[in-house]
Subunit: 201 residues, 2 copies
DNA sequence: CTTGCACTTAACCGATCGGTCAACTATATT
DNA sequence: AATATAGTTGACCGATCGGTTAAGTGCAAG
């Protein structure tokens, strides 16, 4: 059973850093196959198309985040607003370590792919949107608990959570434009100043 | 003199909507030549490379913005903080009208290109960064004047301006992920809640 | 009337694109 | 031992990629 799984995961492992550091269109199947040490026919045994591969890559990144930084940051044991600080910190250190190794700020693969493909492929767009929707829920939970605990004044947690997610993506975008993770360090903490009030009844 | 200029600007005119609505890698020279009704050799008479074309396209978009919405929004006659409202409004209506015509939220071409190419081409990255830097200055001027006029409490106008720009780009990204300009309408106004305090002396 | 230059045409370059295919190997089942 | 099936190989597909080139065309200056 393991050979099969191994090949498939080697394909994904070869694809992940390439899609992250370049772009969807700029990475070819052939290069991925070379990276994985397999032949093209073998690739298409496991993935019906390039799009299916990138979907699997998206899932892998999402799992990696969900079980790594995000799980740590949104730890229920932490005070709610500190979770948001933690997430910003984690994003900063992650991007910084990538730059140290790779020499480049690679940014957020979900944001990267969203801007590249979402006008051309609604299935990919839906997949990426689902990732963002889940991320937003994490912010919203933290905000709701912060409000319930009296840590912050009441606000529209759904919209504010979405605004915070947008801000995070935007900060990563600007950091990538400057190839400098320190942008995240300077701008990130201001995420907690974002507020969208509850609409009047 | 006009034939030459006409051909060059027809190339740019054919390229602009294509780069905006798809991506840099996904639009080929051949397609642009067909769109402009010329031959490939003619293209390379005016542009040494595809990259030079996209630089010209970036300039065109930048000029269009600078002399259009941005000039209106950052009108010195407007109260400083209202300029920011105006810009958000303008971005919203622009994206909305694009979607009505094109059926898609295309987002910000500067953001799109930044995430696609900035790890692969430092010259393009520098060009895009210069656009962002100019945009940040507009925000900062408005903030400085708002502070001077007592409209808002003092803050770090350089960092807050950058944060606002990041937020705008992030909101457009999320709107594109949802293919829905209304996201801009809902989240946009919260840009004014962003604050980064002055560092202690 | 000629020379020169800006511009255009259309064929062409090697490389790569995403994807297919038939033949082959290895393993597990009967 | 025979069969079925999962996985693999490597050649191949037509299309397109960014870019080049040689041969023209048309106009303007001398």
């Amino acid at each position: 059973m393991n050979i099969t799984i191994d090949t498939r995961s080697r394909i994904i492992a070869a694809a992940k850093p390439r899609f992250h550091s370049r772009s969807y269109a700029n990475v070819g199947i052939q290069e991925i196959c070379e990276g994985a040490g397999i032949q093209k026919g073998s690739f298409y045994h496991f993935f019906p198309s390039k799009r299916d591969l990138v979907m699997a890559v998206i899932d892998e990144f999402a799992d990696e985040w969900a079980h790594g930084f995000v799980a740590e940051a949104f730890d229920p044991a932490l005070p709610p607003m500190e979770r948001i600080d933690y997430l910003i910190d984690a994003a900063y250190f992650w991007q910084k370590s990538i730059k140290q190794v790779h020499g480049r700020m690679l940014g957020c693969i979900f944001g990267n792919l969203t801007l590249e493909v979402s006008t051309q492929d609604d299935i990919l767009r839906a997949k990426l949107l689902a990732i963002f929707t889940r991320a937003k829920s994490r912010f919203q939970e933290a905000l709701d608990q912060a409000i319930a605990g009296g840590d912050i004044p009441p606000l529209d947690s759904a919209l504010t959570a979405e605004a915070m997610l947008a801000y995070l993506e935007g900060v990563i975008l600007l950091a990538k434009a400057q190839n400098d993770p320190e942008v995240l360090y300077r701008l990130g903490p201001a995420i907690k100043t974002l507020r969208i009030e509850l609409a009047q009844a």
